[in-house]
């Protein structure tokens, strides 16, 4: 029995923590996909951003990259506090009328998401990538998060899901960024965050305009614009 166990090598504690956090990011993406209410989607987005920021802190502490501490704090402030606050403010004026915006059944949606994330993980697994900062697994999970975020945008027909899908896509990209390029200059990283802020403003305006015109958050109302 001992000889059998000797073959089993458990990864180190830091790797474990990083992987667990990365998996939490993916799981919250799945939860966003299935949750019916926009409000809980916004909360899940805040949670996911918190996990991404935690990952930044873990990498920063492990590799002594001071820039990452600053970046982690900035993204914590922006993505966990400001963006969800803006989204909730926009949502406060809209009734929760998007409870049934799934185009597919929840079970089939989750199944397709599992297949997609499996695809992402396998594809990254076949690439010869070795990162000193984070395990390749985190990169694979980032790919899975991005694919599931696309699925979220595709299968949910309401404006909030599409905005949240876009923002969480950005979370997936930052996750991949921490794996591949943790030493990126701070100014470049902050520029990405600024992009996100612009996107939030644009999506906020879009949501308001759409809600003002069609009195609904569902994008199905746009279908009547077809000639």
């Amino acid at each position: 029995m001992e000889s059998l166990l000797a073959a089993v090598t458990a990864p180190s504690a830091v790797t474990d923590a990083a992987e667990t956090v990365a998996i939490l990011v993916l799981l919250s993406e799945f939860a966003m996909l299935r949750s019916a209410l926009s409000r809980s989607q916004v909360n899940l987005y805040a949670f996911q951003s918190l996990a991404v920021a935690a990952l930044a802190f873990i990498v920063a502490a492990e590799r002594h990259v001071n820039d990452l501490f600053v970046l982690g704090s900035l993204s914590l402030l922006l993505k966990v506090v400001i963006v969800p606050a803006i989204l909730s403010r926009v949502l406060r004026e809209a009734p929760d009328d998007v409870a049934g915006s799934h185009r597919l059944g929840v079970a089939s949606m989750v199944m397709s998401a599992i297949v997609l994330s499996g695809f992402g993980i396998f594809v990254i697994g076949t690439m010869p990538i070795h990162s000193k900062l984070l395990p390749v697994l985190a990169l694979a999970i980032a790919a899975a998060v991005i694919l599931v975020a696309f699925l979220l945008v595709i299968v949910r027909s309401d404006v909030v899901s599409q905005a949240i899908g876009f923002f969480s896509l950005e979370n997936g990209v930052s996750l991949a960024g921490y794996v591949l390029a943790a030493g990126l200059p701070l100014i470049a990283e902050v520029a990405f965050l600024f992009d996100l802020l612009v996107a939030v403003v644009v999506f906020g305006v879009l949501m308001r305009v759409h809600h003002g015109r069609s009195a609904s958050l569902s994008t199905r109302a746009l279908e009547k614009l077809r000639g």
Binding site: L5, V8, E19, T20, I114, L137
Partner: protein, 321 residues
């Protein structure tokens, strides 16, 4: 310390006896906790024993059109529930001779045989609710099966075997094994499987008397007397067997006897009961905090369990996790 050393065969018998004797106690204790949480006094902790004893004294009524299957099913199921404890680490941390007889899948098959025989007997009675229950139990049983398979795959990838004893040993071997993401995912997926298989909210209300919401409970509606007693006893044993796998293999495989000495082996029984009460309390809290899912929403629950189990395998595929 030199004490009485038990033969492996004696420990195996003791494993079965532990399940046989303490399963109703565990059910009674969890029911008590549950009612205390709801602000009720609840039935006595020993109530399941009284129920079973009462049913053994009653006569057995058999529906007109049913055959020997109806009477054989409770016995078959009972024997199945007595077979599984031989395969899993109930009292000892080291594998006993019969532990090599079957792996997690083998245990799963024996449990499935029990479920199948009860469902067969229910389908045979011609009673509408019993048939409804057996049909539903088989449907949802098939839906939860992929999650069990993927949990088994995870165990196989982690330990190189799929014997429950080795998974438990792997978890005990180091803290990082116990908190590695793949293990956490698989353990949580198995937790959801146990939740579904013991007929708990959000899948089923196990104390309900409303037939339309029933799944497993409805199968035994046509049984009476000693046959029903065996089924009730069997279902408490099934619950305890699932708790053993959940606790002694995945969540907390500590406190098991490391030697064949009488003392540690006997001490493992209260240690397990304490852990099982802890887990039972979690189940009771879930029972009170969530509402039952609509029947056609149960697939979502199954999908969540499958997601966790599938992720565990995917994560291990990359060599991490």
């Amino acid at each position: 310390m030199s004490g009485v050393e038990l033969a492996p065969a004696e420990i195996q018998v003791l494993q079965d006896l532990t399940i046989l004797v303490f399963a109703p106690l565990l059910s009674g204790a969890i029911a008590k906790i549950e009612s205390r949480l709801q602000g009720r006094r609840g039935p006595r902790v020993l109530q399941p024993y009284y129920d079973i004893a009462k049913l053994f004294r009653k006569e057995t009524l058999v529906p007109e059109d049913s055959s020997f299957v109806f009477l054989a099913a409770p016995v078959v199921a009972f024997v199945c529930y007595l077979t599984v404890p031989l395969l899993i680490p109930v009292l000892t941390s080291f594998p006993l001779p019969l532990g090599y007889m079957g792996d997690i899948l083998g245990g799963g098959f024996v449990l499935a045989l029990a479920g199948f025989s009860v469902a067969l007997a229910a389908a045979e009675t011609g009673g509408p609710y019993a048939q409804l229950g057996s049909s539903r139990a088989m449907t949802f049983g098939a839906l939860i099966e992929p999650s069990i398979l993927f949990v088994t795959f995870t165990v196989a990838l982690v330990t190189g075997t799929d014997l429950p004893y080795f998974e438990a040993a792997a978890v005990r071997s180091s803290l990082s094994q116990a908190v590695r993401p793949a293990h956490l995912l698989a353990a949580f997926a198995f937790f959801l499987v146990v939740l579904a298989d013991t007929g708990r909210i959000p899948v089923e209300t196990h104390v309900s008397t409303l037939e339309f919401g029933m799944i497993d409970e409805a199968r035994t509606l046509e049984h009476s007397g000693p046959a029903l007693a065996l089924l009730k006893w069997g279902s408490t044993m099934k619950q305890m067997v699932l708790y053993v796998i959940l606790i002694n293999v995945f969540i907390a495989p500590w406190g098991l006897a490391g030697s064949r000495q009488l003392g540690p082996v006997l001490l493992a029984i209260p240690a397990f009961l304490a852990k099982a009460l802890g887990v039972g309390t979690i189940f009771a809290v879930i029972d009170n905090a969530f509402s039952k899912l609509r029947l056609f929403k149960i697939t979502e629950f199954m999908a969540a369990a499958f997601l966790l189990a599938a992720l565990a395998v995917l994560v291990l595929y990359l060599g991490g996790g």
